[in-house]
């Protein structure tokens, strides 16, 4: 759906490129996570993809056509959820939504969306009276009010309580199930892990890793099993290599004869991978 080739970008007053030749594709119906530390180039990349920033070098196509060739029809097809609240605070939520609705040809069922994010009851309240979480939920409604084919979400669950974060994640999954494509930037690794089909790690304007969360966990995880068992009132931990674990007599013996307390594979978390991949050590090849 989106194809980015050899993208470079430098700010008008900056000398060096902040995006250094990145290339990636986002397939239709995919949830693509874009991860990296602050200042790595995530938001800049997103702003280039949604055509807020121009003057980049490289090639970006959307549905096979250069994004520079699109006019207003591009924005009919995408929805953008910003990290910060972006509403007129002295207008009600409904007044905000109705204003934006009139700017699009396609209109979603607002009542359904507002009910889904739990704002229908408060639709006639001034946005200035909303809590931060409510404003973020209204951002989601704003992003989806034109029935977009592609969603860009910047830290979508930041500021949401666990229940509302779960509702939002369900909405994103449903959006994908209905054929939608999603580009997410986030630093909340658990969300990325739960949602994304593929992730890319960007550091100092370069993509240094890109794969499915599962493959990354296998790649960066330790191929081992760690077993803890109880003996004489003490907990003892033993690590075994994962390869040939089914034939490892010591491991099988412990399973059969001891009171096993815990058993873990050496699979790592996306958070550990984030720290490892975006850390200086890996970048220096250490």
């Amino acid at each position: 759906m989106f194809k980015v080739s050899d993208l470079h970008y430098s700010y008008p007053k900056g000398k060096a490129d902040v995006i250094n030749g990145i290339s990636f594709e986002i397939d239709k119906g995919e949830i693509f996570g874009f991860l990296g530390p602050s200042g790595a180039g995530k938001s800049t990349t997103q702003k280039i993809l949604i055509k807020i920033l121009g003057d980049y070098r490289g090639h970006i196509t959307y549905n096979g056509k250069n994004i520079t060739e699109y006019n207003d029809e591009f924005y009919e097809e995408i929805g953008v959820s910003f990290e910060m609240p972006i509403h007129f605070s002295k207008m009600t939520a409904m007044e905000n939504i109705e204003f934006f609705l009139k700017l699009y040809k396609n209109n979603a069922n607002i009542e359904e969306l507002m009910k889904r994010v739990g704002l229908w009851e408060d639709k006639d309240k001034m946005v200035g009276e909303y809590s931060k979480g409510m404003k973020i939920r209204l951002n989601i409604v704003r992003a989806m009010l034109n029935n977009p084919k592609m969603l860009f979400m910047d830290e979508p669950t930041n500021g949401l309580d666990p229940m509302n974060a779960m509702i939002l994640k369900d909405m994103i999954r449903e959006f994908r199930a209905n054929g939608g494509t999603v580009f997410i930037t986030s630093h909340i690794m658990a969300d990325i892990d739960q949602l994304c089909d593929r992730v890319a790690f960007i550091v100092e304007g370069e993509i240094i890793e890109m794969d499915t969360p599962r493959n990354l966990k296998i790649k960066y995880g330790k191929r081992s099993m760690f077993l803890e068992y109880k003996e004489n009132g003490k907990t003892i931990g033993v690590e075994f290599p994962l390869d040939g674990i089914g034939q490892n007599k010591e491991f099988l013996n412990l399973l059969q004869t001891k009171e096993v307390e815990t058993l873990h594979s050496g699979e790592t978390t996306l958070e550990d991978i984030f720290i490892q991949v975006t850390g200086v050590g890996l970048k220096n090849g250490q």
């Binding site: 949604i50 807020i52 207003d72 609240p85 207008m91 204003f99 700017l103």
Partner: protein, 244 residues
């Protein structure tokens, strides 16, 4: 496009109302109305064009500066940039809405004096003059807003505008400064030009070179300023507001 522009203009007018700009402009018009109401005819004839000029110049800059300050503080420009609306539609809607909103306040002042003080006006010329002066200064206000970082910055802009452009014009009107040299220099002062064309809407004014020069200067200057500065720089401004 026309339909979308209309939606944007209505939205801008609605926000001017919601953010209390309409109340403020009606209040200012009322204050001027009360002050002028108690003046004698001679002083009224001198001050009424001046008040209308201030409304069409300084107040126009202040209102559009405030609107853009609110937009900045609420980051709403970010979400406007990702709608099918073009930059020219966005900016034109601001210009149209703020111009007509400001004209509404001027109309209130005029109506009061036409009814109660029997002020003689050429309605077409006064409407044209206020429209051109307001549109020019709204464009100027938009350009100044590109450089304002916060509310204080906006006030500083207004003060600079006052000292450089408005005060010389007042001094000339009250005869504190005079002479041919000042007359020529002030021809290029947009505030003085606004006063000239607004005065041209009152009965008894002789429409000479200064009137037509001022009319042409504000009309052409406004259009050129909009096309060659306000519009091309809008994208940079909007992108900066979105956090870049």
């Amino acid at each position: 496009m026309a339909n979308r522009l209309w939606v944007l203009v209505k939205g801008e007018l609605n926000r001017l109302n919601k953010y209390n700009m309409t109340s403020v402009s009606v209040l200012v018009a009322l204050i001027w109305g009360v002050i002028l109401f108690f003046l004698d005819a001679e002083l009224l004839n001198l001050l009424l064009p001046l008040v209308l000029m201030m409304d069409a110049t300084m107040m126009a800059i202040m209102y559009v500066g405030s609107v853009m300050f609110f937009e900045k503080s609420e980051s709403t420009i970010s979400t406007m940039l990702v709608t099918p609306v073009s930059n020219s539609e966005l900016l034109l809607s601001k210009l149209i809405a703020n111009t007509f909103h400001n004209m509404f306040a001027s109309a209130l002042i005029i109506i009061v004096f036409v009814i109660f003080k029997d002020v003689q006006l050429n309605y077409l010329l006064i409407a044209l003059a206020i429209f051109i002066a307001t549109a020019f200064h709204t464009t100027a206000g938009i350009i100044l807003a590109y450089f304002q970082k916060d509310f204080t910055g906006m006030l500083v802009n207004i003060m600079i505008f006052m000292f450089i452009l408005a005060i010389p014009s007042f001094l000339f009107t009250f005869g504190v400064i005079s002479g041919d040299a000042w007359e020529i220099v002030l021809l290029f002062n947009p505030v003085q030009a606004a006063q000239e064309i607004i005065s041209g809407g009152f009965t008894g004014y002789e429409h000479g070179f200064k009137y037509y020069f001022s009319l042409g200067y504000l009309s052409i200057g406004g259009i050129l300023g909009y096309i060659f500065y306000a519009l091309p720089k809008f994208q940079d401004y909007a992108v900066k507001q979105s956090g870049v």
